[in-house]
């Protein structure tokens, strides 16, 4: 005998389920809203000068952000050199060597570090690097972003190494390879596509960071020599131009925003597609 479901229960069911769908559409549409506005304002203000010229002194129109584009690349290079090795090797330790309790403790602290606001990391980079050196520098900015890269580097490395089946390790060790040789010549190469994509995502995440650069890399109207001078970066330029009163600078901020978001999203989409096709995803 079938029990009839009362009309009120059916209506509540339909209404609530529809509402949850509407909420999802609302959230997802924000992405297209952001993309749309940046396309609309960004592309129209984008020109060749943007990529090749220095910023004009205040009051004059025109100019570009060539120094900020190179500056961002330099700061990100430093950040990668500082953050990725530490995070990667710590991830290797967690996946391959560590005991359960110690690994739990490290993982917990790594998650906490991941939750530290970026502005706080900026302050610490200031007290550790800027203050002793006596001036703002690309190196200080790289240190701040490098510390921010560590947590994700650890977690991706651990996750992708754990996804490599144990019989691969056993096979290598049965052939007489040492632990280290097994890890570095068999396990890591097997996970390499996931590892590189994970690190790309990590880089994309800090590429847009502004707050920790405000008082570490500071900014620069000109080209910056080497890594020990203040340096212009794309996110800081967007911020400075967006809050400036001149309309021309707003246009350039939109253009820079468009360039930054395009880079970040392209890296994200590519890396996520590689990960989704990799062995780690299939084992999940």
């Amino acid at each position: 005998m079938m029990m009839e479901i009362s009309a009120s229960r059916r209506i509540v069911n339909a209404v609530m389920l529809t509402l949850s769908g509407v909420c999802t559409v609302l959230v997802v549409s924000v992405l297209f809203f952001i993309l749309g506005y940046l396309l609309l304002h960004g592309v129209s203000s984008l020109n060749w000068d943007f990529f090749t010229k220095l910023p004009k002194p205040s009051g004059e129109t025109g100019g570009g952000m060539a120094n900020a584009i190179l500056g961002s690349a330099k700061v990100l290079l430093l950040a990668t050199l500082i953050g990725v090795p530490i995070g990667f090797l710590a991830g290797v330790f967690l996946a391959e060597y560590s005991g359960k309790n110690f690994a739990f403790a490290i993982r917990y602290v790594v998650d906490l570090l991941n939750g530290v606001p970026s502005i706080v990391i900026g302050i610490v980079a200031y007290t550790l690097v800027v203050r002793p050196m006596g001036h703002y520098s690309a190196f200080a900015g790289g240190t701040a972003l490098g510390i921010m890269m560590i947590p994700i580097a650890v977690r991706t490395t651990e996750e992708f190494l754990r996804a490599i089946p144990n019989n691969i390790r056993e096979g290598a060790m049965a052939l007489g390879a040492t632990r280290a040789k097994t890890i570095f010549t068999v396990v890591i190469p097997a996970a390499i596509s996931g590892l590189t994509s994970g690190m790309m995502l990590n880089l994309a995440r800090v590429a847009g960071e502004t707050a920790p650069l405000l008082f570490t890399a500071l900014g620069n109207q000109f080209w910056s020599n080497g890594y020990l001078a203040p340096i212009a970066t794309l996110p800081v330029m967007i911020y400075n131009y967006a809050i400036a009163p001149e309309e021309d600078l707003h246009q350039q901020a939109w253009a820079a925003g468009f360039v930054l978001l395009t880079l970040v999203l392209i890296i994200n989409v590519t890396a996520r597609l590689i990960i989704a096709r990799g062995p780690a995803a299939q084992r999940r």
Binding site: M16, V27, G115, T127, T178, F215, A253, G257
Partner: protein, 326 residues
């Protein structure tokens, strides 16, 4: 698993049996020690962060003590500092953000975990993860030039005409305000609520749903009465995680909150937040006490987010373990 106890015991046994230096030459012990050093260095980095924040903010603590947190006087020219307007702004904007983001995020995660077909759910989750990847300065850019004018023309006039008598909607609206910051924050933290809540919901065993449906419950009743209570701790975890993000969010808030250190009950008036005042004033701060006060606020922010994050992680872990045991 690579780290099952027996596996570890075996390797430990082998390590002692062959002698430390013999293995050192083979590179095995070096690899172990180097990776261990990196893992331990992360603990040291976190320790160093705490130490640096404490060390460089002592001056403020000796000068004002805990009155620093309750005083609302912020006057760098007179060398008088109080953090209350910033703490108030941080809490108020985060609260507003959560108020909008929590229902939206939980509802969307219910849709993604319980209703959408797996392929659609994965695709939408992919888009939501991209939303989480958008840099905060871009949210600020959209906030200043698109959202704030939109709030000014479409949202505030009806709000004022309907609820203008309430103190929270008092005063003239110029655009940059607590309300604008709260709305931008809500959009920024929704992806974090969704991605964690969705995973927690999906960890609830299917048998629970089947049992409820077999007893004649509708899809919604199953979700609301059976699945949600099972996943509640994890969803709280995701909310805490998002709260920690909101409290520490800097750029977007700085760009739309108005940057005025006043405590006002009205959501329409401009305010300030801890992260925003650090972003605005740190590079130009001169004088030991001024810098020290800003760093002290960073320490407060750090403590707050660490505690909330720690709680969130525990919540999420307990739900996921419950799910895998059942």
């Amino acid at each position: 698993m690579a780290t099952s106890p027996s596996y570890i015991a075996e390797t430990l046994g082998r390590r002692t049996s062959r002698g430390f230096f013999a293995r050192l030459r083979g590179g095995d012990e070096i690899a172990y020690l180097v990776t261990l050093a990196c893992a331990v260095s992360i603990l040291l980095i976190v320790g160093l962060i705490v130490f640096e924040l404490w060390f460089h903010s002592r001056a403020t603590f000796t000068a004002f003590g805990f009155r620093f947190l309750t005083s609302s006087k912020w006057d760098p020219n007179a060398d008088k500092y109080g953090a209350l307007p910033f703490i108030y702004g941080t809490c108020l904007t985060s609260f507003l953000g959560m108020l909008l983001a929590v229902p939206l995020g939980v509802a969307a995660s219910i849709f993604l975990a319980e209703m959408a077909p797996p392929k659609l759910s994965n695709f939408l989750t992919f888009l939501i993860e991209l939303l989480a990847a958008v840099p905060s300065v871009i949210y600020g850019l959209i906030g200043i030039f698109v959202l704030v004018p939109a709030i000014k023309t479409y949202l505030v006039p009806p709000l004022k005409s309907a609820f203008g008598y309430l103190p929270i909607f008092e005063g003239t609206f110029y655009g940059l305000s607590f309300l604008s910051a709260g709305i931008v924050l809500s959009v920024m933290i929704v992806p974090f609520i969704i991605s964690v809540s969705r995973e927690v919901l999906m960890a609830v065993p299917t048998e629970q749903r089947e049992a409820a449906l077999a007893l004649g419950a509708t899809k919604w009743e199953t979700t609301w009465d059976i699945v949600l209570p099972n996943a509640a701790t994890g969803i709280f975890g995701s909310i805490f995680l998002a709260l920690a993000r909101a409290l520490g969010e800097t750029m977007a808030v700085t760009m739309v909150v108005g940057n005025s250190p006043k405590i006002s009950a009205s959501l329409l008036s401009p305010g300030y937040s801890i992260a925003a005042v650090i972003a605005n004033e740190f590079a130009e701060a001169n004088g030991n006490l001024y810098i020290s006060s800003l760093i002290f606020m960073a320490l407060v922010l750090f403590g707050l987010t660490i505690v909330i994050n720690a709680l969130a992680r525990i919540f999420i872990m307990t739900t996921q373990q419950k799910g895998s045991q059942a």
